[in-house]
Symmetry: C2
Subunit: 244 residues, 2 copies
């Protein structure tokens, strides 16, 4: 089958940990959080308590750096029974400023891949998190001009992807999502009948963990780097599709 | 001139302090912040220092309740030279939870007005703040179904309104924005050539202050309550317009 322009896949790209590094910045803040509190609890226990606080606060704060550090402050007070020094709390607020002011670094060949694909396919950036922080990261990335749509969402579940596809009048079998998170980028789009290219990041936040998908799952493509995306998209465009 | 369906104005509504109460919830948190710190500084000075911190942090945190309370924590440590009790910092984190969990209260006849107008006009909700918190408020308001578009933005300036009008293919002279803030709802849309209905809220955050607009400014309508919006929109629809 020859892939004419109407057969071109519309490609959704995740931002954090797919196009640019993010989790390593949060990971590094968490290491500094450990350093502050190591004489109270071992690192592993601190991570565990912080994660519990984050999960408890998720329905109040949503995702994002501010909620992460507010949960750090709460955990720090909690695990020290209020004995933490005020100067240490001030350090935690400083970690937040380090995170949001951290210079953005694109991952591998993200820039080249996005620019090249934008010449042949419609691209949509679908990122999850805090509006203000995501907008800043997108602006810093210099990639905004290659996307015909930019969607910043507070959650990435099946309903959210369905609304995005509807708003952009995209058929699921004509859509492929590229992302690092099984939970947020891969699983919900596969359930909608779309394709997914999964590129794991070096670190996965515990919350985004999901049992690995079998290599043989239909419409699921596991790749090591973003450089492999153009070839994978071409392969998908060559597959027989509904309506053919 | 008879206002046929094509002559109907498209109406933008602000959310916070236009459709539902917001500033009073933040105001009340700030009073509690004063209570915590009154033995260090008088209330007026505390408000001043908090506002300075907020403005300094705006380019890092953006608008919203989490940034507000993070600035509270920073100010509290600052004005007490680190002598604030950890238990008091814990209280400040608690204020944030009170804010985000606060039940939403619609203002006056907001529900009736929005429902009625939605039967004759296209309505767009344009709210500024944190995505997650704004989405929760919009859901709680029960008003989402009356809007043909919902735009949550991190800033409300001329460029942002221009992009919204372009995306929805709305001519400025066919658009009227209803809101409480001169800075965010009124001034930028007037500059674009659109109409604006200004309904001041009982409290205005200092940052949103702007010199009052003269009663005679073209396309500017100052009203006391949201109940006056339908009649004002009808009056605007009866005005001669570009293209007539």
């Amino acid at each position: 089958m020859d892939a004419g322009s109407d057969d071109r896949m519309i490609i959704g790209f995740d931002g954090d940990d797919t196009l640019w590094h993010n989790e390593n910045v949060l990971w590094s803040a968490e290491q500094k959080f450990h350093d502050v509190l190591l004489h109270y609890l071992p690192a592993e226990e601190l991570s565990h308590r912080l994660y519990e606080t984050e999960m408890r606060n998720l329905s109040l704060f949503g995702y994002g750096a501010k909620g992460f550090v507010l949960s750090m402050i709460e955990t720090a007070i909690d695990v020290t029974d209020g004995r933490i020094a005020v100067a240490d709390i001030q350090k935690l607020v400083g970690f937040l400023k380090d995170i949001v002011a951290h210079p953005l670094h694109l991952i591998g060949e993200a820039a080249r891949v996005v620019e090249t694909l934008s010449q042949s396919n419609r691209l949509i950036l679908i990122s999850k998190g805090e509006l203000f922080h995501q907008e800043n990261k997108i602006a810093s990335s210099g990639l905004a001009k290659f996307f015909s749509g930019i969607e910043i969402v507070s959650e990435k579940d099946q309903g959210v992807y369905q609304r995005i596809l509807t708003r952009h009048t995209i058929r699921p079998d004509n859509f492929v999502m590229v992302g690092n998170s099984l939970r947020s980028d891969i699983d919900p789009v596969l359930k909608l009948g779309a394709h997914a290219i999964h590129i794991p990041y070096e670190i996965t936040w515990r919350h985004e963990h999901l049992s690995p998908i079998e290599g043989e799952a239909p419409r699921y493509f596991l790749r090591e780097t973003i450089a492999e995306v153009p070839q994978t998209v071409s392969a998908i465009e060559g597959l027989p599709r509904t309506g053919d």
